[in-house]
């Protein structure tokens, strides 16, 4: 299962690179296709322009030709029928329009040297023809029709009109030739365009197929590893539940054990204490007897007997008493701890600042005696937890701070707090005598104390605090050095969630 996961993760890295590659290829194909389209559009526009240019040139050539032919026809008509003034009028109109038509040809063909050369020839031929025509028209108008006809015959043998027609035909052919070349060019471009399009299309298709395959494969792997993960997770949850149940059971066992032990220890203690009391009252009787014997028959009394009744017995009884009392307190402490472990927790919303305020009121007397102040610094986060436990924790820590102040230094106990994610952190800081770093772990153990033993106590408070904090799902630590005060740092879940099995 784990191996599968690792493979999936490795693939995870590969797939990003592969998909990026595919995207780049697809993008390049698109750019190629777009570029080809732009280029092709340009080419076809050029072509359209060339075609229309060719037609324009042909048109202009045809126009000029028509004017020349008409001029020729009307001249001949006028020559045959000099009385007909209509021929003359038409001839004049054609002659007038001719320069413009020629200019148009020149304008349209000025970019082509072949056409320019043809044009020069044409212009030359036309000029010559126009001179001849003007002469013959002038002769006819002057009445010299025969002279005009003779001149026409001479002229006709030189065939000026035929050579003009040939020149014009050549020009039209040249233009046609150019058009054909251009059309061939366009056809080549079109073929290239289609090739580029096809290449781009193939690239795109490959990219699409590749990315599709990659994504499909990845999805399949993902689904598989997801299933594996879910199975693993379920197993893990089961295991956690199992372990938690084990731990809870072990914890309950310890609680029960502590409870039974402390009860069974108590039972003999009742005897020890009871019979010590009996012994004490018997000793009382005995010492009264010794007193009476001393008064009435001193010779019966030995020093040893007197000493035993007055010194040894009371001393022995005193030691037994203080020891049993201490043992009783210790057993009670264990009992109390185990009871707190068994107590049902009732989480509720807690205003810690208000709780500190209550503790301040309870301790007002002791604070005043110790010349100490208890302050809340800033806002304290609200938490949902067990009121009794939190009260015990805070009370114990604050009482400790009051208990172990430095003599002669006004005490200052500060409670601070802030949120860290889903946990609330509280700090109870004092400027008291502090705790030797070597003892930091020890002070939380049951019956262990640190520093000068000049205050009453059994070493139970911090052990209780730690047990309660653990039970609430919290942590506690301590930073301190001798003579520099101590700061207890308490980290609790913002909302207490029970991890214990319901009994």
């Amino acid at each position: 299962m784990a191996a599968l996961d690792i493979r999936a993760i490795l693939r995870d890295k590969g797939i990003g690179r592969r998909l990026r590659g595919v995207m780049v290829v697809a993008f390049l194909a698109l750019i190629l296709a777009g570029g080809a389209a732009v280029w092709m559009t340009g080419r076809s526009q050029q072509h359209i322009r060339a075609v229309s240019h060719t037609y324009e040139v042909e048109n202009a050539v045809l126009d000029a030709r028509q004017l020349l032919e008409r001029g020729e026809t009307t001249r001949r008509g006028y020559l045959l029928a000099p009385g007909q003034r209509d021929f003359l009028a038409i001839y004049r109109r054609s002659a007038q329009a001719l320069p413009d038509a020629l200019k148009r040809i020149r304008r349209l063909t000025s970019d082509n040297p072949v056409q320019v050369a043809y044009y020069a020839t044409l212009l030359d031929q036309v000029r010559r023809l126009v001179v001849l025509r003007e002469e013959s028209i002038a002769r006819i108008t002057a009445g010299d029709v025969a002279g005009a006809r003779a001149a026409f015959d001479v002229e006709h043998s030189a065939l000026p009109m035929a050579s003009i027609r040939a020149t014009l035909d050549r020009m039209a052919r040249e233009e046609r030739r150019l058009l054909t070349i251009r059309e061939r060019d366009v056809a080549t471009s079109e073929r290239m365009f289609y090739v580029v399009l096809a290449v781009a299309g193939i690239l795109l298709a490959v990219a699409v197929v590749a990315s599709l395959l990659t994504v499909l494969g990845y999805t399949r792997d993902l689904a598989r590893s997801h299933d594996a993960l879910r199975a693993l997770n379920a197993g893990l949850e089961d295991r956690v539940t199992e372990r938690t149940a084990d731990l809870t059971r072990a914890n309950e066992e310890i609680q029960r054990f502590a409870y039974i032990v402390s009860h069974d220890l108590r039972s003999p203690l009742v005897n020890v204490m009871g019979f010590t009391a009996e012994l004490e009252s018997a000793t009382g009787q005995l010492s009264q007897l010794v007193d009476r014997v001393e008064a009435e028959a001193p010779q019966l009394l030995t020093d040893d007997a007197r000493f035993a009744a007055r010194e040894d017995l009371p001393e022995a009884i005193g030691f037994i008493r203080t020891s049993t009392q201490k043992m009783d307190r210790l057993i009670n402490a264990i009992l109390q701890l185990s009871r707190q472990g068994r107590r049902a927790l009732a989480p509720e919303r807690l205003d810690i600042a208000a709780m500190v305020g209550q503790i301040r009121e309870t301790l007002a007397h002791r604070l005043a005696d110790a010349d100490a102040t208890l302050e809340v610094e800033g806002d304290l986060p609200e938490i949902v937890s067990d009121r009794f436990s939190i009260d015990q924790i805070l009370s114990n820590l604050i009482e400790n701070a009051v208990k172990y102040l430095r003599p002669g230094v006004p005490g200052r106990i500060v409670v601070r707090g802030h949120c860290e994610g889903s946990r609330a952190v509280f700090e109870i800081a004092d400027n008291g005598r502090g705790i030797d770093p070597r003892d930091h772990a020890r002070v939380f153990d049951l019956f262990r104390r640190s520093g000068t033993q000049d205050r009453p106590g059994e070493g139970i408070g911090l052990a209780t605090v730690r047990a309660l904090v653990f039970r609430l799902g919290g942590l506690i630590d301590l930073s301190s050095a001798l003579g520099e005060g101590a700061t207890f740092r308490l980290s609790l879940p913002l909302t207490y969630a029970s991890q214990e099995t319901v009994e």
Partner: protein, 149 residues
């Protein structure tokens, strides 16, 4: 108290020391009734149910019961007594034990215990509690059995 001279006290207590201390303090309270002491449940039940002088056959009695016994639990004895026939069932049972667990106390009362007392560890308190129990014993009425008593 003399009116109940015939009421015998059956003390079921495995700890000889406790038994002795209880007896001493009851006597100090002025209770002079006969005290039968058993250190295990089996012989105690045998006495209660089968002995000629036991509460099943003879006069009224009162049971002082410790819960921590070697052979059976005190609550079992309590259940047997309170589940027995009328004569035994009416016998008052005072549970006197070190356990002050609230569930245990509840259970004893559910089973029909008449009084539940926790033995204080502090001897002064213990002695005082037993003496008060003695005073209590001197005023409570124990049901009469048949025409006797």
């Amino acid at each position: 108290m003399n009116a109940h001279q015939s009421v015998s006290i059956v003390m079921i207590e495995d700890d000889e020391g406790h038994a002795r201390l209880i007896e001493k303090n009851i006597r100090r309270a002025g209770i002079m009734n006969d005290i039968r002491h058993f250190t295990d449940g089996t012989s105690a039940l045998d006495y209660i149910f089968n002995d000629d002088g036991g509460p099943a056959r003879n006069g009224p009695a009162l049971v002082l019961l410790d819960l921590n016994l070697p052979d059976m639990s005190g609550t079992d004895i309590l259940a047997r007594i309170k589940g027995g026939d009328a004569a035994v069932r009416r016998t008052p049972v005072v549970v006197l034990t070190t356990t002050d667990d609230s569930r245990e106390i509840q259970r004893c009362y559910d089973l029909g215990a008449n009084v539940y007392i926790t033995k204080p560890v502090n001897y002064e308190n213990f002695a005082q509690a037993i003496r008060q129990l003695g005073l209590f014993l001197s005023v409570i009425q124990v049901p009469d059995l048949g025409e006797g008593g």
